[in-house]
């Protein structure tokens, strides 16, 4: 087995045993990128120099005996997370050449852990989208089937892991942007509890939803990466003050007594039959491992999609207002007066989907509409949170599909934003509730000669990551 095919745990063992150096791993990963990324298109920026510098530091840590489980492990970073001196584009023309002057908290955490960043991955522009086709800079293909999308918005991160172009990747999940591409590409993706990973340095899309999380080859790897990036950060007011970060604690423990609910609304109309069957099979496997599976109901989930789009767009319209061409980023040319400079810069610098969401957000916040949209959506959010809470009084976690379908063909849905949005129906409720959820591969669907990966998700109450990893790992070990 080549290094690039190994998971984090295996690589870490080799490093600890001095069977390989961080520098060698970085070289192999960079070689893998050189060989396959021309087809996959996962990376927007390959930071070779930076990678070797960090590998050198990692080798020092390994020699000093100060190494941890991620020291020397090559990884990829989603391009909406700030990396000092390495361009951070958000896959937008607006920030195509922007060099952050500071590191995100997550970037700092990973540097501290000695992980080696290979580069920055493609995404839907400003994380708005579900196929990575909204990137203004590049097309990313699904490594399992090159004519298909990798999902999104963290499509580059998921594809990089699936294509063995890194050992793990960091993504962000506002409405499913880690879990859905994980499902489409056949990797493990975790969206942690809101407030457990600092958002400081994550270019905001929708502040009350955004959460950073890991994409990995295995469940155990995922827990290890989350342990490294999760912490209290005083620079983020929504960062939680105190919580247990021992996410690996329950992996390998017996599932008996665990209650897992199957909310029937997630298996209804619009869900592809093959997907539903694979997800139900996963439930059966967990039952076989000792969990108690029971059908349940979450009617409030019908509010989720409209509430999500109203609130997200409202926050986005304000968060993205700073891209005005004055201080950094793209600036339109040939305009004299201020008003036109703003208008032309933002029209040219943002893609269609971003402009659409900004317009929608401004609309729902404008005088006379606030109560009908924004306020109502907040109320729907509260109702949904309450409904989840009630379900979690009877269930340890919920099991559901991640997306109604497997990956679709490039270009198939990109012309219809409504259809694209409906694809988020299974993922957004989790973000409205600030809950943790993990996407785990559970098989493939054969379509037009391609075998398309499918994942299921486990959704838990706040701070239940360790339990979610426990169940996910039990499923994984049985497959």
């Amino acid at each position: 087995m080549r290094y690039r095919e190994m998971d984090v745990a295996a690589l870490s063992e080799l490093l600890q045993n001095k069977q390989v150096t961080a520098k060698e791993l970085a070289a192999d990963a960079l070689q893998a990128i050189a060989e396959t990324d021309g087809t996959v298109g996962a990376y927007l920026t390959v930071a070779e120099e930076e990678a070797y510098r960090q590998a050198e530091a990692a080798d020092k840590m390994l020699a000093d005996g100060t190494a941890g489980p991620l020291t020397g492990i090559p990884f990829a970073m989603k391009d909406n997370i700030c990396t000092k001196g390495v361009r951070t584009t958000c896959a937008s023309k607006m920030l195509e050449h922007w060099l952050p002057v500071y590191d995100a908290c997550v970037t700092e955490q990973l540097k501290k852990a000695g992980a080696v960043m290979l580069g920055k991955t493609n995404m839907d522009e400003f994380a708005m989208g579900s196929s990575s086709e909204n990137s203004a800079l590049q097309l990313t293909r699904n490594p399992a089937a090159p004519d298909y999308v990798p999902g999104g918005s963290s499509g580059g991160s998921a594809a990089a892991v699936a294509a063995n172009e890194c050992a793990f990747a960091i993504g962000s999940d506002t409405g499913g942007s880690i879990r859905q591409p994980a499902s489409f590409c056949g990797v493990v993706g975790m969206k942690p509890t809101y407030g457990t990973v600092s958002r400081y340095g994550l270019v905001a899309y929708a502040s009350s939803f955004d959460q950073i999380g890991p994409l990995t080859k295995t469940v155990a790897d995922n827990a290890k990466v989350l342990e490294a990036i999760s912490c209290h950060d005083r620079r983020d007011s929504t960062s939680l003050p105190e919580f247990d970060t021992n996410y690996s604690a329950l992996i390998g423990k017996d599932l008996s007594g665990m209650r897992i609910g199957l909310p029937k609304e997630y298996f209804g109309e619009g869900i592809n039959a093959d997907v539903a069957a694979l997800v139900r099979n996963a439930a059966k496997a967990l039952e076989g491992a000792g969990a108690k599976i029971e059908e349940c109901s979450l009617p409030a989930v019908s509010y989720a999609l409209p509430a999500y789009y109203v609130l997200c767009c409202a926050e986005a319209s304000s968060n993205l207002a700073r891209f005005d061409g004055i201080r950094y980023g793209y600036r339109a040319e040939g305009v004299e007066d201020l008003d036109r400079l703003y208008r032309k810069t933002r029209t040219e610098g943002f893609g269609r989907e971003v402009r659409r969401r900004i317009l929608l957000g401004n609309y729902v916040l404008s005088a006379g509409y606030y109560d009908a949209y924004y306020k109502k959506a907040q109320q729907a959010r509260t109702l949904l949170i309450r409904a989840f809470k009630e379900l979690f009084s009877q269930n340890d976690m919920l099991l559901a599909p991640v997306a109604p379908t497997p990956a679709y063909k490039i270009g198939e849905k990109s012309s219809d934003p409504m259809e694209m949005a409906l694809g988020d129906i299974c993922t957004v409720p989790v973000n409205l509730g600030g809950l943790p959820a993990i996407s785990v591969p559970c098989g493939t669907v054969a379509q037009d000669g391609a075998n398309l990966p499918v994942g299921f998700q486990l959704i838990g109450p706040a701070f239940s990551e360790a339990k979610l990893y426990q169940a996910a790992a039990a499923y994984e070990s049985g497959v």
Binding site: L95, Y200, G201, V203, E315, I326, L365, A367, Y374
Partner: protein, 465 residues
């Protein structure tokens, strides 16, 4: 001809004197080259997040308490969205529907008439930057971005320019007094917008109002009110309809001019800032802040004159400088001679840099005759230089006052023997001659003699000659 009255409400912005800015650790004070007092957070760089400075909440609540407001137990920050090159995030973090303070008032006295002017609300917000226009083009200076402000909105209770002036003067006095801002209109740490409409006397309806912005002195505010009132009356009398708009005052021409019509003004699309958590002030917080609110300046003045027996001028000098008054107050209750304390403090150019306990100790040492009146200046100099215990400094500098009458006796005899001319003058009735003898005594004792005691002794000895 109908007689008109003004209906005036004032919006006052005051910079809070916190050490750091409202959402980051940058210094909040004035000065510095452009863009040297800012960081990724206050410059609104992508990915950065605000963290509310707790001191800002404390300062704003104290201002509210001083102005008789109710202080919220629950408050929150909102985003006010608009584009301008001096606003890096393209939104200002402010407060919309849950301001920190509400329902206050200020009592003023104008020409013998008492008037209570209501305060609708006080909210906290961040300042914007500044545009700098040069020969080479325009630039944005972010040094002011994120400087904490409070906006104090009055009820439309003000009827005349004189009342507006009295309100602003009292407001400034009280905010300075409570110690959260220096309220200087010249430097912009206090700014005022005037909302004004007119109506026939006796009418209770509110008519179309205009807002006069960017007024930077009390004089201009008074003049702008008079000018705008006159303009509105002229327009009304001429049968022209007034429009709700923002105007600016030109002091050269003594006229107001339209800046923009408000109907087309921005829709600010306020919504709660999702990057910040609600501000919760518990009963304990309220009590802690309440304990920091001083009595009113006039109460303090009366106390100094009546209780501490300070001359009126001295009392006023102290009360003019809130920091000094608070320092004096902190020391006054522990000294035997509050008047001596006041004199010592006012004799020092930088009294504020010396802790209250030190002032109290110096005063008591003087009052007890343990050091003489020239000693405190020397002690303060030494204290500023190296700090430490005053009692130790007294010993180190040899400033203990000589109360040894044996030594003083000998010195007095020596001085009398060595200065026959002064002695003769004194005996001839020139009482002032004793000063020359006293000077010699002080010189020979290196200032350690108690002047009162030495004078008595000299007089006694001279009488016997």
């Amino acid at each position: 001809m109908a007689k008109y009255e003004c209906v005036i409400g004032l919006e006052v912005h005051i910079e809070l004197r916190t050490k750091t800015k409202i959402f980051c650790d940058c210094p909040a004070d004035h000065g510095g080259d452009p863009n040297t007092r800012c960081c990724p957070v206050c410059m609104g760089m992508p990915g950065t997040l605000p963290v509310l400075n707790k001191q800002v909440v404390d300062f704003a609540a104290r201002a509210g308490m001083m102005l008789n407001c109710e202080i919220a137990h629950f408050s929150k920050m909102d985003r006010k969205n608009y584009f301008y090159p001096d606003l890096p995030k393209a939104y200002q973090i402010s407060q919309l529907d849950h301001p920190l303070c509400e329902h206050g008032y200020i009592d003023v006295n104008v020409n013998g008439e008492e008037k209570r002017i209501g305060i609708t609300r006080i909210h906290i917000e961040e300042d914007a930057g500044k545009l700098v226009h040069t020969d080479y083009g325009s630039g944005a200076d972010c040094n002011r971005c994120g400087v904490p402000l409070i906006e104090i909105v009055s009820e439309p209770d003000i009827r005349t320019a004189a009342q507006a002036r009295a309100y602003l003067e009292r407001l400034r006095e009280l905010i300075r007094w409570v110690g959260v801002s220096d309220c200087q209109m010249e430097t912009g740490s206090m700014r005022c917008d005037v909302n004004l409409s007119i109506r026939p006397v006796g009418d209770t309806k509110l008519y179309t109002r205009t807002e006069i912005k960017n007024l930077n002195s009390l004089k201009h505010i008074v003049a702008a009110i008079d000018a705008e009132k006159a303009r509105q009356i002229d327009e009304t009398e001429a049968g022209r309809e007034l429009v709700q708009e923002t105007r600016r005052y030109d002091p050269e021409k003594d006229k107001t001019y339209s800046m923009r019509v408000k109907e087309n003004a921005n829709d600010y699309r306020y919504f709660p800032d999702p990057d910040l958590v609600p501000i919760i002030l518990t009963d304990e917080d309220h009590a802690r802040l309440r304990a920091m609110i001083p009595d009113l300046p006039e109460e303090r003045l009366a106390k100094y004159i009546n209780e501490y027996k300070l001359p009126e001028a001295t009392a006023k000098t102290l009360c003019d400088e809130p920091k000094l008054a608070n320092l004096y107050q902190a020391a006054a209750d522990t000294v035997k001679q509050p008047k001596l304390l006041a004199n010592l403090m006012l004799a020092d150019a930088d009294a504020g840099s010396i802790p209250a306990e030190v002032w109290a100790e110096l005063t008591n040492l003087c009052a007890d005759g343990k050091i003489n009146r020239s000693a405190p200046a020397k002690l303060l100099e030494a204290y500023r230089e190296k700090g430490g215990e005053i009692a130790v400094l007294v010993k180190e500098l040899g400033l203990e006052q000589v109360q040894d009458t044996g030594l003083l006796n000998a010195v007095a005899d020596e001085v009398i023997a060595a200065n026959p001319k002064a002695v003769a003058d004194y005996k001839a009735g020139k009482e002032a001659a004793i000063k020359a003898l006293m000077g010699q005594v002080m010189k020979r004792t290196k200032g350690a003699a108690n002047p009162q005691e030495a004078t008595e002794l000299l007089k006694e000895k001279l009488a016997k000659l």
